[in-house]
Symmetry: C4
Subunit: 221 residues, 4 copies
Amino acid sequence: MSLLHEIRQTVADLHAELPRNDLVVWTAGNVSARVPGEDLLVIKPSGISYDEISAENMVVTDLDGNLVEGSHKPSSDTAAHAYVYKHMPHVNGVVHTHSTYATAWAARGEPIPCVLTMIADEFGGEIPVGPFALIGDDSIGRGIVETLQSHRSPAVLMRNHGVFTIGKSAKDAVKAAVMCEDVARTVHIARQIGVPIPIEQADIDSLYARYQNVYGQEPVA
Amino acid sequence: MSLLHEIRQTVADLHAELPRNDLVVWTAGNVSARVPGEDLLVIKPSGISYDEISAENMVVTDLDGNLVEGSHKPSSDTAAHAYVYKHMPHVNGVVHTHSTYATAWAARGEPIPCVLTMIADEFGGEIPVGPFALIGDDSIGRGIVETLQSHRSPAVLMRNHGVFTIGKSAKDAVKAAVMCEDVARTVHIARQIGVPIPIEQADIDSLYARYQNVYGQEPVA
Amino acid sequence: MSLLHEIRQTVADLHAELPRNDLVVWTAGNVSARVPGEDLLVIKPSGISYDEISAENMVVTDLDGNLVEGSHKPSSDTAAHAYVYKHMPHVNGVVHTHSTYATAWAARGEPIPCVLTMIADEFGGEIPVGPFALIGDDSIGRGIVETLQSHRSPAVLMRNHGVFTIGKSAKDAVKAAVMCEDVARTVHIARQIGVPIPIEQADIDSLYARYQNVYGQEPVA
Amino acid sequence: MSLLHEIRQTVADLHAELPRNDLVVWTAGNVSARVPGEDLLVIKPSGISYDEISAENMVVTDLDGNLVEGSHKPSSDTAAHAYVYKHMPHVNGVVHTHSTYATAWAARGEPIPCVLTMIADEFGGEIPVGPFALIGDDSIGRGIVETLQSHRSPAVLMRNHGVFTIGKSAKDAVKAAVMCEDVARTVHIARQIGVPIPIEQADIDSLYARYQNVYGQEPVA
């Protein structure tokens, strides 16, 4: 059960990145991680403030969102996270925020165009929009999965709602959430007083291929 | 008198949320709480900086805004808070800010439309505008109460002035003030370069009903 | 000489409010105070970072801007501060910043209209624009004084440059700088997607009269 | 080897200014310094977070970007930094960021016009745009050098990408990056609701000459 504790700690720690990067207000955002080799995930409880988060109060659910371990009710977004893990086996981390600029694009139902090398690097093209979906059944999860499966982007703007990001790890999903808000803000500002210059598809492909393969340090063994 | 001290402490502590959430500059915002079972409220003194606030220097007034306990002059907004408690018996907390984006909507006299699921959840529809009112008599208080009584929203944008929010507790009123500024900002940004997509009334109703009944943890006994 | 040390300490401490309220970057802003009863002022040295500021490294100059005491060169804005003290005997504090939103109005040479009760309270009407003026002689100081003498406002937007504020104390001048940026931001945002509603002159007069006489605590004896 | 350690420490310390001044998110920005008298530079490793930076993990490369000392892979921007040092002998510091407002101008391929005295002081005229360039060969470095050689500005906006700044020291380059973002933001905001007033060339020349020669303290011996 030591691996599970480590994942609880990681998920608890990663929540600190959300307020630190101005991605959330009050309790409105969450990070989850898959428990490798088991049909389980670790996620934030509902309505708990970021100051109160600890490894101990993180909750464990199955991939239908049912509580397996923990004394608090899971986040009300758990069903969406669970659906993603169930249908995207390569995904080990999911993040949900209502970060301001990304959510503003989502309110208009407008994808973020690929006009920055940083977007090409990290998202491999535009950041797409998913459907409007009510909470309560699997329609949010389905909207996320169907949209991301047809794009390179690890981020999707859910219409009138907010952002979901995925990653090979929970940290990668957090990174995608941070970068998504950053480029949403920069492209918004560029658009306010003019028209950003598009990047050609061949250049996008070249930037994406390089960044996915070359950037950063080798993982520590 | 121990309950009163506890309320003083709560009100003092909640003031820290105002600068922390970028809702105020200098001394321009205040939180109050009703003293349950008595016609009294606890509020910040006038012109005191957020660093100087303590349970000890909070002041107690009656529901006409007359000083009952405390060595400082009450906030100049006390009459408005008092009017709300007098006329809305289910309200136990009131917050007033001049938070930037909400006040910008107020300067135009324009309600914030319900184009985000977060607005439907928390406000149940648009965030309404109250009348222009001078300080000095009960016209601000009356404007708040009359506007809020015809809306689900716990927040009202007072024209050319700022925001008042109410709650079942002072903490709930602070939460409404934080969420009001957050959605005011996001919808403003969405509007800057296009038109946000409206959410249908049936979906707003469904989101509001669910959020008010399901979200968060059960109150601790 | 103990009073002078106290003023050095006050001026040093007030500089911390500039970065704290996001009014400055790097070393680009300064606070000064008149030494009562003497033709002297205390100001920040040139090019010193906000982390390095202490009572000890504040400098003292006469009202022509000549160094009287201190081992550093005075701020390059000293001549403008000195001119204000020389020609406005009721002013005991001056602040200069390039705060973002106020400077944006200054770049367009456009006064900030009085469309918020907070502007009526604190500035008594619009925040005016002063002339374009080169540094090096008394033209900046003259522009500040001539503009402020015909307005109630303690703040002036110097064209293409930045903001100067005055006060009965250095703290009051800092407060005016904080409020000026706050209302510059709010009115800018209100204007981005519509037209703010003006406040009638009689209401402005009434708000200003009340705020100048009633707000805040009595000065401590 | 003590001088080299000192430079490692300086470069490590200056990285803290990037998040502190809101110029970067995640790991997306870097500072380098030339090692005086040797064809070497010190730079941040690739993909390391700002919290993890220390004098010890800074890396040393030659002026072709080849690793000379250090256990981590150099920043993927090292080739661009190295090219600048090789072709601009008076440059001893280089900074790269994707700071929001400057990058928004870069996304439109639009120089920042000289409409603030601060721009005249620090940049001596407009902040120019460099070409779109893919990472991987010397085209970014070449674009930086060719653009800066025909301008007074120590900052260049690389199209669809971000900002590079240079300085006589690494600290000067950081200062230029901070000021570049600050003026990019202010001029953007000025432009949102009107047209900033240009400054005449003779005034720009006069401001630039004075600032470069008079501002700040004499260097400490």
